[in-house]
């Protein structure tokens, strides 16, 4: 079975283009630009990085020129997120606001079997001609891009984990309050206050007292005056970028709010834990990298315990908690094997099933046009899910630079019309 040909035997031809490296000294000389992937979470994370001495800026440019630059620089068939991220970077660099000799671009990299792992070379290629001195920095946990990685230590990782938990909780509370606020903007004000609260905790070094921080956030949201009544809950799942990024999904959350719905967005921590579990599964299924799998297993247990505590606190307060990850795994097993691990893989059907089981039957499954893993894990599982959950009402929406907004909104509206009808019928049956 060891079909491996020894690597040393054949000579190596190097076809790589030269690119600027990112060195740790640049921490003091360069500004790092960060694409707008998850507004709430990245806000918190950037705050932490700044406190650690980094000069970072979250890009918020979202004009049409962003997409145009993306179209110019990225291959037609490459997925939409790559195009958005690249476009946002190039557009920002071209704006003249940043000194090309003292700017670097920061991007996350997962290292899975999906082409998303290739964003970095794509971005490098895109800026090569016009901004040859701007390094691209990889933020990853898989040891990729060793010569241009963002320096990671245990403490930073720990801080990031806490930040993701806080971001998830904050996003979830906000989504549960925003549709019901009595005065417009009240929920936003509370959210901004919470961001500050979290920031202060990181500054004071008390960020690990998460129970207190979560309770405080809940307290702030629960005193916010809210209208009674019930709105239709709409879950958002899908490819990680278009699921969260307003630039990627044409401001889906805002659209749903305007349609009088309550958006239900599963947390980012689910994706982090999904990645950890995949490493554990690789060891279990295929006997790979047992050592690192052990570490990932420990990390997973740690995160799970924390997630459960936060969920318990949330539940007690009367707000709906986020998903329990073990529950998500069980949901996944009902639909497809956890071996489907490329892209968002089994996490997508797991979230769709978990949403249905926790009372959110209307779902937008967002994906970039032609997304490979989503053929299987997204569109491919809808039929099974509809069999399992009679009232599950899913619309798969493709995001693409040229698909018109009308087209996307019309499809979501169809889903919402069905949702309202189901809701009406359920009410009738209830009385």
């Amino acid at each position: 079975m060891n079909n491996k040909r020894r690597k040393a035997e054949t000579p190596v031809a190097d076809f790589r283009d030269e690119y600027p490296r990112f060195t740790p000294e640049m921490k003091h000389t360069h500004k790092l630009l960060v694409p707008d992937m998850l507004p709430v979470h990245f806000g918190i994370i950037l705050d932490i990085l700044r406190r650690d001495g980094w000069d970072v800026e979250l890009l918020t440019n979202d004009a049409r020129t962003v997409i145009d630059e993306g179209l110019k620089h990225v291959h037609n068939d490459t997925c939409f997120p790559a195009l958005c991220v690249t476009g946002q970077f190039v557009d920002a660099l071209k704006s003249g606001k940043y000194d090309p000799d003292h700017t670097a671009l920061l991007i996350t990299q997962s290292g899975g079997g999906c082409r998303a792992s290739n964003y970095i070379p794509l971005i490098r290629k895109a800026i090569k001609a016009e901004f040859p001195n701007v390094p691209v920095v990889s933020l990853n946990f898989a040891g990729l891009e060793k010569d241009s990685g963002f320096p990671m230590d245990l403490k930073t990782i720990l801080k990031l984990a806490y930040a993701v938990f806080y971001g998830d909780e904050l996003m979830s509370l906000y989504n549960q309050c925003k549709p019901y606020e009595e005065t417009a903007g009240a929920a936003d004000a509370v959210r901004d206050g919470c961001v500050k609260l979290i920031g202060d905790a990181f500054a004071a070094g008390t960020y690990r007292r998460y129970k207190r921080i979560v309770r405080e956030m809940i307290a702030r949201f629960s005193v916010m005056p809210r209208t009674g009544g019930e709105k239709i809950r709409v879950g958002i799942v899908g490819e990680i970028y278009v699921k969260y990024s307003p630039l990627g999904n044409s401001r889906l959350e805002e659209f749903l709010l305007a349609e009088g719905c309550e958006p239900v967005v599963p947390g980012l921590m689910d994706y982090v834990m999904y990645c950890a579990v995949n490493n554990v599964n690789d060891a279990k299924f295929y006997g790979m990298k047992r050592g690192s799998a052990f570490v990932f297993g420990l990390a997973y247990k740690y995160l799970l315990r924390m997630q459960r505590k936060i969920n318990a606190i949330t539940k007690k307060s009367g707000f709906a908690p986020l998903h329990d990850f073990e529950h998500l795994r069980k949901c996944a097993d009902k639909v497809l094997n956890q071996g489907v691990k490329m892209g968002e893989g089994w996490l997508i059907p797991a979230e769709m099933a978990a949403l249905a089981e926790t009372g959110t039957e209307n779902i937008v499954c967002a994906q970039p046009f032609g997304c490979l893993p989503n053929h299987i894990a997204g569109k491919g599982t809808i039929r099974t899910l509809k069999h399992m959950y009679e009232h599950e009402n899913i619309v798969a929406v493709d995001y693409d630079p040229s698909a018109t907004k009308v087209n996307q909104e019309n499809r979501i509206k169809l889903m919402l019309a069905t949702a309202r009808e189901n809701y009406g019928q359920r009410k009738k049956q209830g009385t």
Binding site: A13, D14, D77
Partner: protein
């Protein structure tokens, strides 16, 4: 009252107060003037009923914006249809509705479900309109023709651009319009059934709604036949076009009534939104335009009067996809006669007519000494008029361009259907870039659009010259552009702005998508633009603005192919010309008929043209056999060898060795990963005592068989075909189908990781989820990492629990399987060696057709291997050479087993002058978006040409042939050039 504002029409309908009676309906095209059209119809309503109070709702795709801005209630159109169905046809089981840009299916019984097409406009009313324009007939004429069809050609309907490239060759080959019309409707049906139903069968009583289905009888017929419905179960309601309007009216009952006058004033007051982005005008003022015109008029060709000229002349014909071009020149290159015409159906008629005219004008004074044909219709035209030469378009264009500017280092040609770009280095073609079938954005798009606006193309494009605010329409494929245009119109952009915007987006598409330039400077210093589309000043100006350079556009930009052909004839003719004479021409007629070739299993639809002198011309065939000639030997085609060898690997050791009865019958689908791993799994199962049954070989029929279970219509064709293979195995009655999920492929040590692509890795999950005939018992899909024996044995033991195989047996089976796989690979390599040596001995060029293992399936590669051998080329595959290449480091993450082979194969090719790479790419393969750029950069870094061929379910070998011939011609040219330089040095 219900108002249905669709993408092309406005429907208004009025019901009585108790909803019992429909008292008024209207149906009108709005030509993008939505508001005006709605208001006009409301005025008609007002006249009929006087003022009065109405409850109103708006529905339809274009109604969404209107409703929002006027504050009139909106109801989603599928929902509206559903309301109307429940009221008028409570016993219906399903409904199919086709609209201008949407297609919808509503399942009513057995779980209500409403589906709508994705963001592609394929298979809709707009698609049919586009096709009618292409055939140059009205939709109703097309309908009538279709009813007289004798046969149906396969046509892709997923996307209008694709369908065009299917239809164009048929037209050029002289296929009957009746058959084409019927084929178009069949394509729409297939698209609806596969793209929308996605695994759910449409059965029971089915309603057919929407304008196209109401007005086009042929379409309804195709639906009935495909779905096997009788008259009782296929219902075409009288009010089908207005059905949604009626639904909207029903839905409006829940709303508050308002006086008609208020409705009118609300809609009148609705503002256009300011969502559209606009750019700068093309010209500041008239003066700037006139300077521009003056500058370009300098590159015109001198004329010579044919009615006065006496002497020799050379004829060049460019039989293009949408237009036919013809020139006659003197030996000095003066223009005697020129003609440029759209193919309204049969291009041969045009050429014959023009030839007659030339002979008449020349009055015996002019002798045609040579004639050459180029373009899509080259073979047919050459046969018909007995031209001396047939040359590849690219060569013709290159020749013509150098005539105008010997220093040219970049040539871009935008024609009706395609975009060709050449980089010139040292007087030879250095690289060729052609557009892919998908991202066309060429001239014919403007034309289609001009016609949709009821204008001729000249008039339409002139309007754009002085547009104040050209709209930004993006630079993607035409179908998407189509909806961008419609959206811009809905937002109130003027025709002028749209015309200018279209010109700009064609240019951007060419520069950034086809040439893939990051900055305009990459193009070159001396740019020559040509092709009919550049005769359009707005396009030319947009190009100059975008590149910031002044370019040369010859006055005969549209005739460059023909001009180049004439030049070629002049340079190469020896002795007299064989071209048809004036006398012969007088009595020349021809007749066209279609038939199915039974030469092999491909069952090509061939078209036979019979000329009055008894000669025949056959087209549409994939190989020589179809044309009635002996097929070229496939000895030098490793694709043919691999396919045969792979199939043979499954029948190596039948279980009936007399040992014992088989444990069971296992089915292995001939799909995706099995094209590499079949020997492994066949060997494994046979060793373990199973009978191995393979699915039938791929064909389009097989695809149709599984089409109804395809879940995602944007997935690649190799994956879609898998559904048919599963059906085939189920029909063969196997005990179970084995189809492992493999995140990881075998590690060949070429790359940093060894993944499979997500589709290959997990497709079994999708199959199981979407085929109701599959269950846990008859479909076994364990998760396996074939690199690890221990876990593989464990996984197989568990998966095959029912058969109680011991670990020992499984291990033995696996070893037998791997041994068989190794033998297969060694044989492929040995065959590769053999071909390589044979080709070198015969001095034949060698092409490494680099793709994936499953590309050896003749239904997937459409016989490209055969085509190459018929062009005198030896064909190798990536896995027959990659191990000879050095390991490579590339810019991207090199993490897929099959893709890593491509890089090494490319590296190998760079070190051998007689070896070239043609990369085969399946449409929709996202990973190849990354590999193609890398393979190209490997080749170009070492001065090699890169050629890519995109393949999909459609079979369009004509285009592929041009591409391959261009490549061969360019290689030839390069070689000649370097030989010359060598000689000079020596």
């Amino acid at each position: 009252m219900g108002i249905d504002v669709g993408s092309t029409t406005v429907k208004v309908c009025v019901l009585t107060e108790d909803q019992s009676e429909i008292v008024y309906t209207s149906y009108e095209r709005h030509f993008a003037r939505v508001k005006e059209c709605v208001l006009a119809q409301l005025a008609a309503v007002g006249e009929k009923f006087g003022g009065g109070d109405f409850t109103v709702s708006v529905t339809g795709s274009a109604g969404l914006g209107l409703a929002e801005r006027s504050g009139v209630p909106f109801v989603q159109e599928v929902q509206a249809a559903f309301k109307a169905i429940r009221r008028y046809y409570p016993d219906a089981d399903a409904a199919v509705e086709l609209g201008g840009e949407d297609a919808k299916i509503i399942f009513i019984t057995g779980g209500t479900e409403q589906r709508m097409n994705g963001s592609c406009a394929g298979g809709t009313g707009a698609f049919i309109d586009q096709m009618a324009t292409l055939l140059n007939i009205s939709v109703s004429e097309m309908d009538e023709l279709s009813l007289k069809a004798e046969k149906v050609y396969p046509i892709a309907s997923r996307c209008g651009v694709f369908a065009k490239s299917d239809i164009q060759p048929l037209l050029n080959q002289g296929a009957r319009k009746e058959d084409i019309a019927a084929s178009i409707f069949q394509a729409v049906v297939d698209q609806t059934v596969s793209g929308l139903a996605q695994g759910r069968r449409i059965k029971g009583k089915v309603l057919f709604l929407g304008g196209p289905l109401h007005f086009i009888k042929g379409l309804g017929k195709a639906f009935k036949e495909t779905l096997h419905l009788d008259d009782e179960h296929a219902v075409f309601p009288e009010n089908a076009p207005c059905f949604m309007g009626i639904g909207a009216a029903l839905a409006s009952c829940a709303e508050k009534p308002m006086p008609l006058a208020e409705l009118v004033s609300r809609i009148t007051a609705a503002k256009g939104s300011d969502d559209i982005v606009t750019g700068d005008p093309l010209f500041k003022d008239r003066e700037e335009y006139e300077q521009f015109v003056a500058r370009h008029s300098r590159s015109d060709l001198p004329f010579e009067d044919i009615t006065a000229y006496t002497g020799d002349a050379y004829l060049g014909i460019d039989s293009g996809s949408t237009t036919t071009k013809l020139v006659l020149i003197t030996p000095e290159g003066h223009l005697l006669y020129q003609h440029y015409q759209s193919n309204n159906g049969q291009p041969l008629d045009i050429v014959l007519e023009r030839l007659r005219e030339i002979y008449a004008l020349a009055g015996g004074r002019v002798r045609i000494c040579g004639a050459a044909v180029t373009g899509y219709g080259e073979d047919m035209m050459k046969a018909a008029i007995r031209a001396d030469f047939g040359i590849v378009e690219t060569v013709a264009h290159f020749k013509a361009a150098l005539y105008f500017d010997p220093k040219a280092d970049f040539i871009i040609d935008i024609g009706g259907q395609d975009i060709k770009c050449f980089k010139i280095k040292n007087g030879a073609i250095d690289s060729i870039m052609l557009n892919e079938a998908c991202s066309s954005g060429c001239g014919s798009f403007i034309q289609t659009f001009a016609r949709a606006m009821g204008m001729e193309i000249d008039e339409f494009s002139k309007l754009g010259l002085f547009a104040k605010h050209p709209v930004e329409l993006g630079s993607r494929c035409t179908v998407f552009m189509n909806s961008s245009v419609k959206q811009a119109q809905k937002e109130g952009a003027s025709v002028e702005d749209i015309s200018a915007g279209l010109s700009a987006s064609i240019v951007k598409n060419a520069i950034y998508k086809v040439i893939r330039a990051k900055t305009p400077d990459e193009l070159g210093e001396h740019i020559l633009v040509q092709g009919g589309t550049f005769l359009n000043d707005a396009v030319l100006r947009s190009f100059e603005l975008e590149t910031g350079k002044q370019v040369v556009r010859p006055g005969i930009a549209g005739l460059m192919g023909a001009f180049g052909a004439a030049l070629y004839a002049k340079e190469n003719v020896q002795g007299g010309s064989t071209v048809i004479s004036e006398a012969e021409l007088k009595y020349f007629t021809y007749h066209s008929a279609g038939r199915v070739c039974r030469g092999c299993t491909s069952n090509c639809n061939v078209n036979v043209l019979t000329f009055s002198d008894g000669r025949k011309f056959i087209s549409g065939n994939k190989c020589e056999r179809g044309a009635g000639r002996k097929p070229a030997s496939d000895e030098l085609d490793i694709y043919a060898y691999k396919y045969r060898r792979l199939l043979a690997s499954a029948q190596a050791a039948p279980a009936a060795k007399g040992k014992k009865a088989p444990r069971g019958k296992v089915g292995l689908p001939l799909a995706l990963g099995f094209y590499e791993q079949l020997p492994l799994w066949a060997g494994f199962f046979e060793e373990c005592g199973f009978d191995v049954v393979l699915s039938e070989e791929s064909s389009r029929q097989l695809y149709f068989k599984g089409q109804h279970t395809v879940a995602s219509d944007t997935v690649c064709y190799p994956a879609k075909l898998t559904h048919g293979h599963i059906e085939s195995l189920l029909d063969k009655g196997v005990d179970f189908i084995f189809f492992p999920c493999e995140s990881y492929n075998l590690d060949e040590g070429n790359s940093d990781n060894h993944y499979n692509c997500p589709v290959v890795a997990y497709y079994p999950e999708l199959l199981r989820a979407n085929n109701e005939r599959l269950n846990e018992r008859n479909f076994i899909a364990p998760y396996i990492d074939p690199n690890n024996e221990h876990t593989t044995v464990r996984a197989l033991k568990k998966a095959l629990k029912k058969y109680r195989l011991s670990a020992r047996v499984i291990r033995r089976g696996l070893r037998a399987g791997f041994a068989r796989l190794e033998r297969y690979r060694e044989d492929v390599r040995a065959e590769g060696d053999k071909i390589l040596h044979a080709a070198r001995k015969e001095g034949k060029p060698i092409v490494v057709l680099a793709g994936r293992p499953y590309h050896i399936d003749p239904e997937i590669n459409h016989g490209i291997g055969k085509l190459l051998t018929s062009l005198g080329v030896a064909v190798l595959s990536e896995d027959a050479v990659y191990f000879r290449g050095e390991r490579v480091r590339v810019n991207v993450l090199n993490q897929w087993t099959y893709h890593a082979r491509l890089y090494r194969a490319a590296e190998y090719a760079t070190r051998h002058a007689d070896v070239n790479i043609v990369q085969l790419v399946s449409f929709g393969c996202g990973i190849d978006a990354i590999t193609t750029d890398e393979v190209r950069s490997i080749l170009e870094k070492r001065g090699k040409l890169y050629t890519q061929i995109k393949i999909d379910e459609i079979n369009n070998l004509g285009v592929v042939k041009i591409r391959l011939r261009s490549m061969l011609a360019a290689i030839e040219e390069q070689k000649r050039h370097s030989d010359e330089q060598q000689a000079q040095k020596g």
